[in-house]
Amino acid sequence: MELLKRVGFWVVLALVFGFFMFPLYWILISSFKTRADIVSTTPSYLPYLEFNPIFDNYTDVLVGGSQTSGEGSTVTASADVSEFRDRLINSIIITGGSTILAVLIGTLTAYAVSRFTIPLEDDFMFFVLSTRMLPPIVVLIPVFVLFNDLELRDTYHGIILLYTAFNLPFVVWIMKGFFDEIPKEYEDAAMMDGYSRFQAIYKIVLPEAIPAMAATAVFSIIVSWNEFVLANFLNRDTASTVPPFLNSIIGVGAVEWGRLAAASVVYVIPVIIFTFIVRNHLLRGVTFGAVRR
């Protein structure tokens, strides 16, 4: 019975895991395939055994490209492909900037809401949340007009501000939950010892909050790193990020699945690494104060 349970556990886990992992595996191996191998009607799964892996897709994407990604397909967009690096740098600047801003501002606001008496506190929290309900497509028209007037289109600070606003609701909600859980005796004790409130916050409270802030940052990074709709319409040039670029790879003629896969793999790796580093804090980070211990 005990053995049966054990086997059952691993079988179910393997099935579920398979469903979620197979598409990832498919993207990964596609990035090492030639065009002919990718569109072949009999699928091949194992490099070296079933198909000969190539690394051209990666060099094309990262270094900028050769014209040969398979016989008969001289790619028109190879000049654009070398653009990937510039877009990647933009993505890093914009994601980094907006995440730091959102987490910092949001944490302080969450602290204030959690500890001080704010007039209309519940309404404020609902207002913060409600800004996340706006469909980006609805925001897009006025923001487009606004950004044109203020000359914020295609600037780093424009899009950073926008993504900061996108991420603030989530940060404020998670961090408020977190502060609700930390006993306020911590700061009270420090203040009894002569710290001012402000000192108590940055010497006692903030260091305590860093794991939760890191967990929150993961979500902020995921959103900014991958946002497509606004990036696609607002930034065409200087401050353009990777996701619209990925979409544009498919726009030109036949889809270059290999390059797309390679670019996607390169693009997701930094997020995976960051998530792996903070994985132990993720669980504690997302409790929103909904779980009382």
Partner: protein, 315 residues
Amino acid sequence: MSTAEKIAASQSPSTNRLRPKFSFLTDNRLSFLFVSPTLIVLLFIAIYPLIWSLTASFTNRTMSQNQEVVGVGIENYSELMTEDRPWERFVVTGKIVVPSVIIQTVLGFGIAMLLNRKFAGRGVLMTMMLIPMMLSPVVVALFWRFMMQGDGIINYYIKNVMGFEPILWLADRSIIPWSVVLVDVWMWTPFMMLIALAGLSAVPTYLYEAAEVDRAGAWFRFRHITLPIVAPLLMIGIIFRIMDAYKMIDIIFVLVGDRGGVGRAAQTAGLYVYDVAFKQQDTAVGSAYGYIMLVVIIALANLLIRQLNNLKGAE
């Protein structure tokens, strides 16, 4: 004070009485200082567009620059209210959002239960399970499109391995919404799993031990110990998922096209706004429809948050 004393003072506040710095920052000033940046950013990015589109929704504004904008009263709204299509878009949205969020919640919770025990490789497994939600929706939708094609790998299995008729994932209008649900489930179940795991890790073990003593069954433990503690957290996860699925357009956009595929099978309310405001360039009607969307989701969120507070109170 010498440097050494300063260091000692900063490290052991309990032994040295300090002269408080920044004491001019009273609680009142601090709360103002901390709340106002958020307020300003959100007012600038959220409220300004809201007022702008509210104003626009009562005019005849279009995308073209050289046109006289005049007020038309509630004409845009009454037009939308009386036509069938705008309502159908909400039905389509519901058909996608409701099954997606239900499946994600159940599946995510189930996976969390599986992972909520100690075994080798748990950390790696958990991180790998989170990868789908880290990918750009554009990439996710593109690769699912690739796999769901008529001669893609999924149909290869259905036809050659299982021996069934291939499924027209992206071409059959009765299946398209379910294809969207499938992709959304694949991408966002990890989020619900994470939320559920966070909840499960907060269930104190002594409760289970007590249940053990009372010889309570597995179902009883689940129903009366696990669920009540995880429920509020799960509810917040559900609220965020509903809000995001409701406004999600990028997956559908890439998977079946900007009109929602054959017969507009997956043209949700969000895509309808895109269609009206950008394709037909009718800013005014697009804004009005956006407003209707907003009112619907705010009402829904209010209802859900009330539910959430009940759950918290019932604890």
